[in-house]
Subunit: 427 residues, 4 copies
């Protein structure tokens, strides 16, 4: 069975991992501690995460903590082949390459489960790391017998946590999974600063379009959508926001953006980015009214946000015009127009570029590493279901990052600490 792409890429992969390490100071402090404490000794960790240079550093950290790691990707288009190859060459068990078919993708997930089982047979305890919940879902659908051997898991992203909560509501989730995404040091940073910047980066590589003077429609105004909107504004685009939630719609408007239904936005937008975690938010009915030259991209976890089947159906010809850009020729009555799809509708930051910058992933992956440690330390108390880490973990991670950035700040004086807990003194 194939594991990774062309082995010649290993040298570049090693360099890229080293480059990522140089930006991930906070996570390296965790690595130092893990080396000493060996919290994951006796554990095998099955990972379904974007196989990027930053993920490779997380693998370093887990291995430093004593874990055996087996890993596959969590998206058919997001693997950085040089990194996957470098991991493979050094002996980490990895199944991942860029451009997997749907079948290959699931075969790779199965390979990870098989390795987990093997390790458990050899006496190890299992942990899982997921990004999007495909691994957990697979285990719950096809490997229920294996569940008792799993001590716990973690989940990286909004969409995955959403699925886990749906499982929990269905009483279907059978082992404890930490919602790393719920860490403030994750969703207020990775989703906001990370997705914000990397979506711009993905669009730039896919199209090299000029943001200035363009109308960019951002669909979804959660942490990710806010980040994308802010960065698009920072690049001088006019931003239009579409939302279904009242409060978020109001925030978008107060942040200076126009807010309107997608069908209206479809008529005025030059570039569209979906970040909703939902399905078919851009559908055929919207594509029909879009302007010639419109660019469509997605930064949500799944490629379901843009209805690509509808797009294909509308088109009389599809051309790959650039590495991450397809042109859909559409005849619209007597007129003809082109719509462009970036990164095949998969998360454009990873499909067309390198994904989030290392520094922001350092925060998220501190969360991953510390979540695994937390599970191991609390394994006797944790119940099946979604677990949220205590706030002090966030404080700890933020402190590590401040140190890594060389930032000094104040602390409360005793008098101030006392003042905050007193109520008698008023005006």
């Amino acid at each position: 069975m194939k594991n990774v792409a062309n082995i010649k890429l290993a040298a570049q992969g090693r360099k890229n991992i080293a480059w990522a390490r140089s930006q991930m100071g906070a996570l390296l402090t965790v690595e130092d501690e893990f080396k000493k404490k060996q919290p994951l000794k006796g554990y095998v960790v099955g990972m379904a995460l974007h196989v990027t240079k930053e993920t490779a550093v997380l693998v370093d950290v887990l291995e430093a903590g004593g874990a055996e790691v087996v890993i596959t990707g969590c998206n058919p288009l997001s693997t950085q082949d040089d990194v996957a190859v470098a991991l493979h060459e050094r002996g980490t068990k990895v199944w991942a390459w860029k451009g997997e078919t749907h079948q290959e993708y699931y075969a790779n997930l199965e390979a990870v489960v098989a390795e987990l089982k093997k390790a458990v047979k050899q006496g190890k305890k299992a942990l899982t790391i997921d990004d999007g919940c495909d691994l957990v879902t697979l285990i719950h659908q096809k490997h229920t017998d294996f569940i008792p051997s799993i001590v716990g898991g973690t989940e990286e992203t909004t969409t995955g946590v959403q699925r886990l909560r749906a499982m929990e509501a269905d009483d279907a989730l059978k082992y404890p999974v930490v919602a790393v995404n719920d860490n403030k040091t994750k969703h207020l940073f990775d989703n906001y600063y990370g997705t914000g910047q990397s979506t711009i980066g993905g669009l730039l590589r896919a199209t090299n379009l000029l943001f200035a003077g363009k109308t960019m429609v951002v669909i979804g105004y959660g942490s990710c959508g806010r980040g994308v909107s802010l960065r698009a504004k920072g690049m001088s685009a006019e931003v239009v926001v579409c939302e279904v939630d009242n409060l978020r719609a109001l925030q978008a408007r107060m942040d200076g953006f126009r807010v309107m239904p997608i069908l209206e936005a479809a008529k005025v937008g030059d570039v569209f980015v979906t970040v909703t975690g939902n399905k078919h938010v851009i559908d055929g009915v919207h594509m029909k009214v879009m302007k010639d030259g419109t660019i469509l991209a997605n930064s949500g976890h799944f490629d379901a946000e843009i209805n690509i089947d509808a797009l294909k159906k509308l088109a009389r010809k599809v051309t790959q015009v650039r590495p991450s850009l397809q042109e859909f020729k559409i005849t619209d009555g007597s007129k003809e127009k082109n719509l462009y799809l970036a990164g095949e509708g998969r998360l454009v930051n990873l499909a067309a570029a390198e994904g989030h910058p290392s520094t922001v992933m350092s925060l998220s992956f501190c969360g991953q590493a510390l979540a695994l440690q937390y599970i191991v330390e609390h394994k006797h108390e944790l119940q099946p279901g979604v677990v949220v880490l205590p706030g002090k973990v966030d404080d700890d991670i933020a402190a590590r990052q401040l140190t890594a950035m060389g930032i000094k700040k104040d602390s409360l004086t005793k008098e101030q600490a006392r003042y905050l807990t007193s109520w008698q003194a008023g005006t």
Copy 2:
């Protein structure tokens, strides 16, 4: 006993209230409902709130809902005299004027309590509205016998909620108080957009300084501090942030600001704004190293954030150079320097200007009105302590505001709603 300032101001007060009403569409929809439903019939509401034109509209709404309202201010410098006079003239019981002494301030609070007691004797049930928790504290310190007559209360601001939570921790809070500040439609709007803009407005009126080219030090990076920083940046100041909290410090840095301890910031800042809810965050030790011409202002609830006694002690002469600006002449070794204090260290947006814009108060005061309704409707279930309103109240308020602004948005399709609660479909 004096109630309000010069009665001649009533006409301008009425006009200003009408002007505020024209900006508070969301709150007017609550007024319409209250008129029909009379949810506050049989209740007397004792208010300690900034007596502004927006508060007058809230009084309108509560009275429309059947309540008797008795009101005083919650800060000695924040009353808009024309508005207080207009309320008084039309028959609302009010004790408030700009520039109360400490003694007058507390006498006015007592007057409100006395009126509440009087109304209760006449068969009404009592509710309280607080902003900063002075009224609740007074009641708990000096009128414990009256507490059983109080059905519940509300609290408007961060500082007040902080005090309430301290009371709760001390087991000292004896009736249910809704933390209106915890509404997302409150602290994500009023504190952020409101304080952000109105602090700029207050500084402009106090000093008319040029923000461009200045280094503005914002101390505290909660919702208020973030808002102030963003607006100061929007006016082209260079912003420096001081924080004690790791996560907030990190956010400030990621938002593009320099982060440093106050003692370092004190040497480089041109303008300082405190928004911490804490005490003496700018102290004598900082003032000593500040540059000649430095301007100090506070946007937190109490005037404790800047140690004004320390400032007075350092100064050899104090001059009122402009209506809301005092100059402190300080001899520093052989050198002489001036420090300037805006609005006597009281919340600069209200002390030197008109406070938050009406539209943002519309959101907060929807929260107040609906919180009172909630207390009345749930009076048999609510326990003494801090109460947080359910999320649907936020959704309801946001929807009212979107309607008031004429904004249309999307709703989930059935298929999308289903997708969000399913977990089986993955990559």
Copy 3:
């Protein structure tokens, strides 16, 4: 003849002038030099400038340089009475008060001319300082006999320079006038940072509106319009720009704003600001389609930009709802709506607030003082017409301001200076 308003205001005027001086370090360096060099000895300067605290500092500087100064305002609504009174009390000849009638305004201009003539009879040579070109126009229309006694003049603002260039084209300008507005240290700072900030300040005082969530239409995208747009964006408004010039319209769009004809903008705007230097850019036809509650303001020099007569004609009732805000009740078919006019359509930053911050005026007024010195030094070479100062004056003024702000910067090394003037070295 009346000179100024209530003499009791003098003390506050002196304090405000002192406050302005504390922000105008660059101009004070010119004052120091003028004291020593006395470049204006033997000259009388007739000024028609906004009588503000900053202008008072310019008067200080000119008097320090040996000049006799006689001054009136250049706009019926822009005089700061406390400052005018303070100038008057100390002996400067001043005719100016806030709220002059058209007749009084021109009488005051005539008073200045009369004083100039008197001083010339006593042997002095005359100079003029204008802001908007009313004084120069008056002299050219009614005092042509006096022109030979005038050595030269200066003009402060875009509109005035526009009029001067029109005079020049008509061959009607009979003495040399320096276009101070053409200084980069003037129009790239005063017009941009100054008008930008002070327009926001004026709107805040007139209305206390919430910028966040509003659509603000800026008409005109020159230096002033760019400044206003940027600051409105900085306050979180959505900005729409109207322009007649292709290049500026394109810049506005590339800066992220929507660009459209006024008639379209009229339907979507919440707040309008005119900064065109032109006439009736907001006319009856636009007012008819505006939304209920729309606010109109002008930051251009003359009150001609909004057709106020048309507005009055449309209205069935006009009310002064706040000190700088009038409500126009308009019946539009079966519907009724209110439009609001800030500061009577006069420059809103001065009519409703204090005008530009002192620091930015320091740059402009360095230009004024140095322009007068330039005229005096070059009086034998200068021809009638519009004069532009050499670039080194800008460099000199910028250097003074950097010093005043304590900013250090690099200089070219010898090798770098040589490199910049060589052409042989390439790739």
Copy 4:
């Protein structure tokens, strides 16, 4: 002699050119006119321009206008090989590939001159297009005999115009060259919006660094530097500006940035970008005090801005860590640090990414095409020296771009046009 890189790239080149055309609507309107009018019939155009997809569209336009085009690059690292190959394959004479040696670079320039001479011998008249002035310099240094055959030329960039003006001052420039860079539609757009965005894009591809939380030092605050600073701020970096010019330094500060000498900035910066047009602005002395991990990049025309020799001398080891990123290991006393150089110190937007977005190049290249037409039409009047196009060309280009973007705007009414040229009406 080699002309271009691997011929297999032609298909992608053709697609990229088509993609560029889809973004360059304004330039296509010029192409339409050129097709009809054939203004360049009988001319051979020698070009030394970055060989990008956008330049290929300019070649289209010139050929449509009747010209024969011969082309080479103007930088050893900026050629897009797929585009060069596509041009070659279709028959345009081109000598350009990415990664030319210094010798190859000059050989290619000579090849262009040789072709020009050949065409002139066949009866054509010669024109030149330059970007950086290497071609004009070569001709003036080694082919003076050929100068009489050249009707005129154009120059694209700031640095080239600087060299031309230096030539003019030396009386060395022997034919008329239009400073296209002086077009407002060029330097206010290409340099500002173009360099601003594409420098961010280049840095992203070279490093994938997180801008948020970084201190980015921009050296030079002309149109390019302002653009880079604004976009870096838009990506949430803290920006520090270094300048030698007083006025620009002051603008930088008023725009909210810290301004300091490079030696100070060297100690605090995380990323440096040079955009000065000068030499060794980052020198060994600065590198010595830089922090570990600092990234250096240049967006100026020549690779002289960072003293790369000094960097090499300081380093004990140089590694290519990523395609456009070199690591310099420096031992600094007892400490070791790494500095990183992006794109070999050549313009990072082209060396590490695709250069300016097509839309902004459309404006610049309208200027190029119309400049050639202008030269041809005025060939009998033009004198040797630097030529600036009349303002109406800018107006024309801006109008074309507005149309391409579908933007409508107002025009002056007759009354307004009259008002602008009258001076009699005042207050």
